[in-house]
Amino acid sequence: MIKKKIAIIDYGIGNVKSILNALDNFNAETILTNKPEDILNADGVILPGVGAFKTGMENLIAHDLIPVIKQYVKTGKPFLGICLGMQLLLDESEEFGNTKGLGLIKGKVKKLVIDETTNERLPHVSWNEIKEPEKNRWQNSILENVQQFSDVYFVHSFAAAPSTEADILATCNYGNKDFCAAVKKENVFGVQFHPEKSGKTGLAILKKFIDLIK
């Protein structure tokens, strides 16, 4: 079987070793790269990232990656943003003043809101359950093989708030409030949690991402 080529975008942000290691379990050939030709020729692309939104965008701009990402997404091949990589998909973020994002998913990135009666803390550092917003929304998506209310690992203080409800692939409840835990718009996926750190459930999500490649 021909191995599927997965490009992981290298823009100097975050720990990508675990993503590479996780993908090694599957039928994938991985490349950590910021070269346009590698990204455009890949069968699947992952945008990782942790840390601040502004730094993330600045690094994408510094590596001239924004047009490349947009061009890749137009090809219809699967694209996955992880954690900050998911947040960057939105129009903008309110972290450290407003910063413009990639605009691939309509909406904003906002600080998590906690119901004060719960005494929950920020950042949200926890395993937590993901929920399907409506029946069958996980079909043909990266979450297809995941059970409802599976636990995955989160570490964040901000979350995406897509303006189109249909773009919300999964929600999660923290501090008595729901937030968007995953997005999907056509071939573009994003997860706020870390599949590469979420044990078996996370590995099943990454495997499905590879299986979505035609």
């Binding site: 720990n15 070793k17 675990s18 290691n21 996780a22 090694d24 942790v50 840390g51 601040a52 719960t118 005494n119 929950e120 803390r121 920020l122 950042p123 949200h124 550092v125 926890s126 395993w127 937590n128 636990d151 690992y153 570490v155 964040h156 923290y174 870390h194 590469e196 750190k197 979420s198 044990g199 996370g202 590995l203």
Partner: protein, 251 residues
């Protein structure tokens, strides 16, 4: 409600996981990668690798262990012990660690917490405090519980939060390795003083100790070592027990 994270703490010396009492008198318990894998497959939520002798040698010697462990262990991994500079942190993250626990160096140079959290994000910087009870409160110790600093542990926790740490790991040196229960008062003081998640470490000797800690202090995470290293309980047994008592953990 958050789910309390059950965290395996692996103190490592010369390629072996070791366990002592009050961080002293160290005994070999096994291979770090094999143990990490075993706990991962049995459902542990996170793993902390601490270089037990790093501060003495002024460097961390665990990078190669982290590199191997993260090929097979797909949960968050923290590295601590002897991390002295931003370039050490960079090396640790590149070897596959998700979070860095800083103690001795943070006391010597608090700015490292600020700088590191600005560069890598608060989520990957853990302020680690080794606390010993004194007459009136608790004092922060460094060099694996050997050297006192004159710094009040609770004040230090607040300072670490202000500097940008994303979590606090509080180890009771008095309780560490004793299996006589956590220093509940200390953990309660720390969780009350900061608004970031707190991981409690040192003293877990029974399932009741863990239950009591969660009920009274509601920490973000509970670190365990002797309990699982000496096969007193398996990770899945501990979780089952906590779930049976209606405590929130990942099944």
């Amino acid at each position: 409600m958050h789910k309390t994270r059950l965290i395996a703490r692996l103190d490592v010396k010369n390629e072996f996981v070791i366990k002592g009492i009050h961080l002293e008198g160290l005994r070999k318990v096994g291979d770090p990668i094999e143990l990490a894998k075993k706990y991962y497959l049995d459902g542990i939520d996170e793993i902390v690798f601490m270089d037990a002798v790093a501060s003495l040698y002024e460097r961390n010697n665990l990078f190669h262990i982290i590199e191997k462990a993260c090929k097979e262990v797909f949960i968050p991994i923290t590295i601590g012990g002897g991390i002295r500079s931003v370039s050490d942190i960079d090396k640790a993250l590149r070897s596959g660690a998700d979070k860095i626990a800083l103690n001795t160096q943070a006391i010597k140079n608090p700015e490292i917490i600020k700088e590191a959290s600005r560069i890598y994000g608060s989520q990957c910087i853990i302020g680690s405090i080794e606390a010993k009870k004194t007459g009136t409160g608790w004092q922060a110790y460094v060099d694996n519980g050997r050297e006192h600093t004159g710094v009040d542990a609770v004040d230090w926790a607040k300072k670490l939060e202000d500097l940008g740490a994303g979590e606090i790991l509080i180890t009771s040196v008095d309780k560490e390795g004793t299996k006589k229960g956590f220093d509940v008062e200390l953990v309660k003081k720390i969780t009350g003083a900061v608004s970031i998640p707190v991981i409690a470490s040192g003293g877990a000797g029974s399932l009741n100790d863990i239950r009591e800690l969660i009920v009274t202090c509601d920490p973000g995470g509970v670190a365990i070592a002797s309990l699982i290293h000496y096969n007193l309980f398996s990770v899945s047994e501990i979780k089952k027990e906590l779930i049976n008592h209606n405590l929130m953990v990942r099944p």
